[in-house]
Structures are given as C-alpha cells and as structure tokens.
C-alpha cells in the first residue's frame, strides 16, 4: 500500500505510470487484446455504418422495403440475405451496432453514475445512510434483473428511455456494491487520515482521494456491464418491450426472424451472432482488464 501513499504527494505522475503498468499487462494477454480489437472494430462499424451500408435507393438499404426481394438466402448481393420486407440483413446488422452500442453506453453511464454515488455515500458515511441505501439495493437485488426490467419496461411506453431505465436500474446494484466495498477499504487507509488532518473537507476527500483509488474495479465492472446492458437490451427488444421495429435492433430482428425460423434460418443466424460476438469481445476485454488492474488475481 506504500505506493498509494505516494499517490497523494505526486498524484499526476504516479497515476500516469499506474495506467501505463495496466496497459503493459493488458497488452500481454492475447485474449484481452483480441477482445479490444473486436470492440474497436465494432465501434468503427457503428460510426461508419452509413459508409459501409448506405441506404440511398441504389444500394440494398437497411430501411427500404423491397417486397420483390424478400426472404432471399445469403448470396453475392445480400451476403446475409434479406428479411420479410426485402431489407438487406447485413445492412440492418451493421446499423444495429449503432443502436446496441448507443443503448449500452447510455445504460452503463446511467447505472454507473448512480451506482457509484450510492456506493460511495453508503461506504463513506456509513450508519443510517448506508443502512437505507444498501437495504434499497437489497430490494433491487431480490428481484431477478429481467423481471425488474420487465416491470419497468411494461410500465412505460416501449423505446430507448424504457430500456435505459429498465436495464440501468437492474444493473445499479452491481456498481453500488463494488463501489461500497472499495470505498470501505480505501477510507481506512492512512492517506485519508492525513487528508483529514490537514483539514480537507469530506467532499474534497471523496472526490480527490477516495474516488480515484476506487476507479479500477469500477472500470472492470463497466466493461462487463456494457456486455450485460447490450445483452439485456436485446432480450427486452426480443420480447417486444424494448426498441421497436422498424429500428434495426439485433434483439428485435431476432424476434422478427423467429417467426420464419423453419424456412429462413439466415434471419435468426446473423443478428444473434452479432450480439454474441459483441458480448464475447467485451467479456474478453473485461477479463483482461481485471487481471491487468490487479495482477494478484491472475491465476
């Protein structure tokens, strides 16, 4: 823990070298690097969706109905085939990455922010605040996440907002618990006592000394959480209470394709594969990050 004490005196320099260490260890793991590359690739696909699969009338579009073209099996023109409206499935999968990543990032930002605040308050102040907040977290934890999501999504008009709340509130306990646990360890450290003794305010101590030292497990949790968010958002859309057609969302596409599964396998194959690859890559990255942040955990 000696290096953490140094952290107070020489914060910026130390922080850079710690990140550098993490990156050095992360780079060594082939699994983690593969995950990172796939995630970067997916983000690029999402950013350049309009270039990769333009929808301008001449090209097979993700949103242009062409009933003469429906239910085509994968071929040279439509590498993933077409759906029941003759839309190109490849184009829809490409554009779907936008929706999934966007939903994922919003959900993670939402649940991480709330979770970190709840966990930090509970861990730092203890007593009454901790009791109330953690009992609330217990309540959320005792409802299986998909059920919580279903009841939230059912209470609202389906769409982006309902997904973010449904999945985000379901994921909140994970962040709150991780945060609380790390705050509890950090706040007993000597450098916190030192900060008190020089007269720093509680808010300043939390912001400047506690949070930066709790960030590692939260980053790991957020990477895994992104996978979780994309998965559950797709599940809700699959059930018909998330993103609604005609928006190209992977889960919703699976739900449409499911009706034609007996004759048109390609409609359920590719959107699901996209979800699986995305989540697989994020999990690989998350595993790698966890090992890189805390080499002691590596077995």
């Amino acid at each position: 823990m000696g290096d953490v004490t140094v952290n107070v005196n020489n914060e910026s320099k130390k922080k850079r070298s710690q990140l550098h260490d993490v990156w050095r260890r992360f780079r060594k793991s082939p699994i983690a690097m593969t995950g990172l590359c796939v995630v970067v690739f997916m983000v690029l696909v999402a950013l350049f969706a309009d270039v990769i699969a333009p929808s301008d009338g001449r090209n097979p579009g993700y949103d242009i109905h062409n009933l003469g073209n429906r239910f085509q099996a994968p071929n040279a023109e439509h590498i993933m085939g077409t759906d029941e409206f003759g839309r190109d499935i490849f184009a829809r999968v490409v554009h779907g990455s936008r929706v999934s990543l966007l939903v994922g990032f919003i959900v993670v930002t939402f649940s991480m922010t709330l979770g970190v605040i709840v966990g930090a308050i509970a861990g730092f102040f203890g007593k009454v605040a901790e009791n109330i907040l953690m009992r609330f977290i217990d309540v959320l934890l005792s409802i299986p996440p998909i059920l919580l999501a279903i009841s939230i999504a059912a209470a609202m008009r389906p769409g982006m907002m309902s997904i973010v709340l449904a999945v985000g509130i379901g994921a909140l306990p994970l962040y709150a618990r991780v945060m609380r646990a790390s705050v509890l360890t950090v706040k007993e450290q000597e450098f916190i006592e030192a900060a008190y003794s020089i007269g720093a305010s509680k808010f300043r101590i939390i912001r400047k000394h506690v949070l930066p030292n709790c960030i590692a497990p939260i980053i790991v949790q957020a990477t895994m959480g992104l996978a979780y968010a994309i998965l559950w958002a797709a599940a809700l859309s699959f059930l018909g209470i998330g993103i609604q057609p005609p928006t190209p969302e992977w889960g919703a596409m699976l739900s449409e394709g499911r009706m034609y599964i007996r004759d048109h396998w390609h409609m359920v194959m590719f959107p699901g594969m996209a979800i699986a690859i995305m989540i697989f890559a994020l999990n690989m990255m998350g595993d790698g990050l966890r090992d890189a942040f805390d080499p002691r955990l590596k077995k």
């Binding site: 009992r135 299986p144 998909i146 059920l147 359920v268 699901g272 989540i279 999990n283």
Partner: protein, 308 residues
C-alpha cells in the same frame, strides 16, 4: 442454526415489503388507465369513472399501497384484466412448469460446470484448461434466447431429433433446459476453477501431498469439499438468472409457464398479472437464496459454529 434461519427469515420481511413498494410504485406511475382497460375502449366515461371509484383508483397513493399490501398478505393479488380470474390462481397453476424448467436447467448447469471446473483447475495451463476457459467465456456471452433459436434450428428443424415446443414429455425438456443452463454452466465452471485453484495452493493440500496421499483423494476429499463452498453461493445467485432465462425461453418454446403468461400480460397491459408474477418470483428467488445460505452455513463449519 434455528436462530440463523429465523433471523434470515425476519430479514426477508423488510426486503419483501420493499419489493412490493417498488412494484406497486411502478404500476402506479404507469401510463395507461386500468379502469379503462377493464371497461373496454368503447365504454362511456361515466362507467369508467364508476369503475375507477369502485377499484379505489381515485384514492391517494398511500391508501392504495396500504390496501395493496394487506391484500397481498392475504394472498389476494387482484384479478387478471384479461381472464377475469384471480391472479394468484393463474400464477400458481403455472408455477410448477416454470420451477420444473428452472430446476432442470440448474441440474444441467451444475453437472456440466462443476466437473469441467475441477478438470480445468487440476490441469491448469494445459490445452484442456485453455479450451475450457475459452468455451466458458463463450458460454457466458451467447444470449440464451439466441441459443434457443440455434438449438431449434439444429435439433428441431435440420435434424428433426427433438420437439421444439411444449414441456410435457422428457424429450421436450431437453432443448429449453439446455438453452437456459449453458450460460450458468459456464459461470459455475469459472467459479469452480478459480475456487479450486485457490484451495489447491493451501498448506493442507501440500501436507496431504507430502504424506503421499493419492491425487484423486486429495482432489475429492481434501480440495473439492472446500472449493465447493463459494460455488454454492454462485449457484444460488444463478437461480435468479435462470428464472429470468425461463421467462425468455418459455416464450420461444411455447411453454405454458409464468414467463409466457407474464409476457402475454405485458402486451395486454394486464398489470395485476405482471405485479403478481414479479412478486411471486421475487419471493421464490429470496426463499431459494435463503435455502442456499442455510446450506452454505451448514457446510461451512466456520459459519455454523457462530450460530451454535
């Protein structure tokens, strides 16, 4: 031990009251008017207003919530808008199917996860370990609803070996249980592996090796017993995931369980059913976790001795 169980049961009460509060509040703020749903779209406004008064929907939030929990305490979950039957009866009649599906998937998850985890840990860094770790990561990444569809495609449509809907005969159990169980099997495998690796580094294992004990005895008698303790907790937590998986899978395989009923209820805005279903499943989940914790305390002498 009794004291421990009693204390845990008492601790469940405030949590469950909290659950009712969350669920009730969600329905309270919900868009849409239950009285309107019940009366029908064409019903005149006066009739809807009368129904609203009759159902107590005009009362303040606190009054409505209090009435709701006193009803719930008497197992009165209200009446389904769609079928007109009591929600409790509707859900209880579907309960065994959902539990059966969940139980089958837990069995599959444990039977696959634990042995693979042990093998992986005892042969650490071998090709098998690498492959198992990779497959495990894949297992937790494949969405179970997609896995269901892929299994239907392969075993139902292509090969024609297994039925793809219903849940009455053993051959109908296989696909749904596997599609839910696989991801939990992967998680249990990862947990068993890391917990086993930890235990294998302990001094008492070295002692057992030093005195010349056979490898299999060390693994099964000395290591496994201790390694399985954290695995029990994970299995308990996974039950919540499996219950959730059951909801999705029931819809895919047309299984007449709670999950399918609830998803149909969402489409029909049948709130009493959603409320009742979530509450009963949350209660089940809490009870299962209590049982898991009791088993945990029972198998771990360190915890057991605290409650002697």
């Amino acid at each position: 031990m009794h004291k421990y169980i009693l204390r845990r049961l008492l601790m469940m009460v405030p949590v469950l009251i909290g659950v009712t509060f969350v669920i009730f509040t969600l329905t309270y703020i919900t868009e849409g008017d239950p009285a309107r749903m019940l009366a029908g779209i064409q019903a005149p406004e006066e009739q809807v207003e009368q129904l609203r008064e009759q159902l107590g929907l005009n009362d303040p939030f606190a009054v409505q919530y209090f009435r709701y929990i006193t009803n719930v305490a008497r197992l009165d979950f209200g009446t389904s808008f769609a079928t007109g039957r009591p929600v409790f009866d509707e859900i209880i009649s579907r309960f065994p199917t959902t539990m059966h599906l969940t139980a089958m998937s837990i069995i599959i998850a444990v039977l696959i996860g634990v042995p693979l985890g042990i093998l992986s840990a005892t042969k650490q860094y071998s090709v098998f370990d690498g492959a198992a770790t990779f497959v495990g990561l894949m297992g937790i990444s494949i969405p179970n609803f997609w896995l269901s569809l892929m299994l239907i495609l392969l075993f139902g449509v292509q090969l024609g070996w297994l039925p793809t809907s219903g849940f009455d005969t053993p051959s109908q159990w296989i696909l749904p249980s596997f599609s839910i169980g696989i991801s939990s099997a992967a998680i249990i495998m990862r947990m068993t592996r890391s917990s086993m690796l930890e235990v294998l580094r302990q001094d008492y294992i070295r002692t057992a090796k030093a005195k010349g004990q056979k490898g299999s005895v060390i693994i099964f008698r000395h290591a496994l017993k201790n390694a399985l303790i954290p695995v029990i907790t994970i299995v308990g937590l996974e039950i919540g995931v499996l219950l959730g998986g059951a909801i999705l899978t029931e819809n895919i395989f047309s299984i007449a369980g709670i999950g399918r009923f609830m998803v149909d209820a969402i489409a029909r805005r049948d709130y009493p059913v959603i409320q009742g279903g979530v509450l009963l499943l949350a209660l089940t989940f809490s009870l299962v976790n209590l049982i898991v914790d009791v088993i945990y305390a029972y198998v771990d002498p360190r915890i057991r001795s605290q409650y002697k």
